[in-house]
Symmetry: C2
Subunit: 496 residues, 2 copies
Amino acid sequence: MTAGTVRSLLDGPLRLVHLGLPAVAQAAAAAGARVTHVDFLPPAGGDPRRLSDLSELLSGPSARAVDAANARALARLLASRPHLVAVAVARDVIPGMADDLFLHAGPPVTWERMCGPLRGAVVGGLLYEGRASTAEEAARLAAAGAVRFDPCHHHDAVGPMAGLVTPSMPVFVLEDRAGERAGTRTYCTLNEGLGKVLRYGAFSDEVLARLAFMRDTLGPVLAAALERHGPVDLKHLMAQALQMGDEGHNRNRAATSLLFRELAPSIVRATEDREKAARVLEFVNGNDHFFLNLSMPMGKCMLKAAEGEPLSSLVTVMARNGADFGIQLASMPGRWFTGPAQQVRGLYFPGFTEADANPDIGDSAITETAGIGGFAMAAAPAIVQFVGGTAADALATTRAMGRITAGTNPGFAIPALGFSGTPTGIDLRLVEETNLLPAINTGIAHREPGVGQVGAGLVNPPREAFHAALAALAEHVRTAAADPAEPARAPARTDP
Amino acid sequence: MTAGTVRSLLDGPLRLVHLGLPAVAQAAAAAGARVTHVDFLPPAGGDPRRLSDLSELLSGPSARAVDAANARALARLLASRPHLVAVAVARDVIPGMADDLFLHAGPPVTWERMCGPLRGAVVGGLLYEGRASTAEEAARLAAAGAVRFDPCHHHDAVGPMAGLVTPSMPVFVLEDRAGERAGTRTYCTLNEGLGKVLRYGAFSDEVLARLAFMRDTLGPVLAAALERHGPVDLKHLMAQALQMGDEGHNRNRAATSLLFRELAPSIVRATEDREKAARVLEFVNGNDHFFLNLSMPMGKCMLKAAEGEPLSSLVTVMARNGADFGIQLASMPGRWFTGPAQQVRGLYFPGFTEADANPDIGDSAITETAGIGGFAMAAAPAIVQFVGGTAADALATTRAMGRITAGTNPGFAIPALGFSGTPTGIDLRLVEETNLLPAINTGIAHREPGVGQVGAGLVNPPREAFHAALAALAEHVRTAAADPAEPARAPARTDP
């Protein structure tokens, strides 16, 4: 900087750039200085214990081991290749599924603590399974423990919103076809469409009739078509959809269209009854979110490949049951770290307001965990019309997520960002260091059972879940360092 | 600017910003000044006669009348609503079509002046129509005048690349369903796909077999499906596709997918033979450019609505026959202003170079004329992988086209540009004033008959066509001003 430039800068009143508490700079502002305020929070929110854990994990003796574990986990995630291989009945294929078991979204929750839409879905599920003939009877049965409840995630499954999976529902079966974890399977129900649907807690006759159509027609027709067609490479399809305005969570129009095109000839050839084939095509064409129930188990399949690195700080699950938001780490698969489910900021359908909204619910945040959804907002600028904001916000969100992720997915290139890959592999340490929470796109369910969707928007996880995970990981890493018997890497798989 | 800033600017050597001929600033540069050169060309390329015509049309007594005529023409273009209403045989529906007539792309051209790919397509057309049994015989017949040639545009039709339409080809029938020109019909053949295809001048057995499938199966099945389905609103479909990475000329994957989804159930219901339905679905699924042959006649339909404003300077046709590039104005429908077809700058398929390329060919520039294609590049950043350049170039191209257009199309919103509409209605005056030529996305045909596509890229029209049009419009406007009997507006349509 030349002397002239400095003189020019000092030509006006004093200018300050201030980081931190606004109050500190008030006196300077009162004295005529121009103060530019920059939001600033110290890493880990400034909590001394968390700062100590964080510095241990980021720059202590274990930091390089954590980095290496994350690199291995991310490499496996990126190498995975989930394919849609079949459509089958939940009780026949989901590991541990039983006639008296209902699966739901998010971390474990009892009937007593279940939110309205999840209760509504359970009621609908009991009616659908023929276990009850009225909503009242179903609610009594549920309260009396007639069925057990388990998170979808405990059974390699995921479900949007309430995420209910009952034994006789048809489900997509995905299989990892590449990488070290080839053979891994994940599961998801078929998407019902919008309006009054079970996943938003509705259980009217219209909802049950649609579920019956899905069981009796949609499921079997798709199963036969897939058998004829062969496996569908979902990452390849998602990569194209990300160049066509989808982000794989709140916008799935392109991927739905591409899947439809791909399967339609096989649907026609595999179905003797032309009218049946036409009704299946019509149903899928009528639902731009049909692919959501494939982008979710695709994400789950990718993230299962990352699991089992004892020192990894990567997040492999983010899921909500409408009361709690839970996350899991690649280093401790199956262990939940939770906090309260948050309110969604978004746009409401006519006639509804924030007062109608249930807190954040669903396993669909698995898309963000896998590097799409909110993390791929830059690929889907048109989505801002649905969730609020501007096209510039969409670019900024994806860029911001790059600050809390371990890498990018070169297979998921975003044209508007010069074909750079979506930020992938949420690093718990970076979330704590930057205080930047994952950005999640989501739908909004009415808080009462039986109503349905009332809007869509953006939400973040609760910080508490990340704080709890940080403490546990620091402890875990200390234990591993103290006990050399602790395996430094996950045990090799015994089945090939 | 403060004194300090000025001092700082002068702290270094002399800095000059120079507009115009680089030679003028050479002495200053030699003396040590830092010279920033800015490309600059005076309006209308600096030609005194054109400058005089241009200033008359832009700021003379007629300027407001031209502005008003353009506003009316643009309003009609925007109000038009082309629908796909039928698939039929060319000879049955195209006005003036006859058994001895072949239509081709671009302005009129004789067999003697036809380029290689157009000759190849004519040879293929004669084989397809059963008029010849060998390529040599077909070429002899064509040279001997066995068929007449006419531009597609003279028959309310458009055709990509060679643009050949022969009497027995199936064609899409579009109809304007709204605005003052409701009832206007336009036509286009069905897209053959990529590889060896007639429109790129190939005529092998494979090409002829595909054309036979299109005549015997694809055409009739689509005709029956459309009859059952009812008209398809193409502007609505295009609007969605522009939010899904299409620009409607070199990228049509989204629109093809959306049309496929929409028609598939009707295809199945309207076709007794399931295998036939499956083959049609497979054919369309196999060709991401299927919708190009709908975005083109959609553009033609919109532009026909703009025609017939005697004082308008809007361009309503841009078309190339591989030798000449011709444009037409809304004020003088049917009158061609031409210049030499240009070389396309682009990416070549492996094994081919610029030396193999035929000059620019095809009616597909009707998409740019209607405000999509190159004008909507910002909607399709992924296209740069196909035609060269970066995602930023795509945004810049759309913004630049805003400098030569009369308005934007609010129905065609581009998310990445804050949902502003595509620049629409090329104003000849603005092209001349800015020296900025329309940006056209296009395919590249091999210069020899029988080969096919060798690449894709970007091209501009020749300036000569615009210069000729400017002179004619200035004369036309002067005549109109001198003769009050000349209608100031197009005559009202007599049929409702």
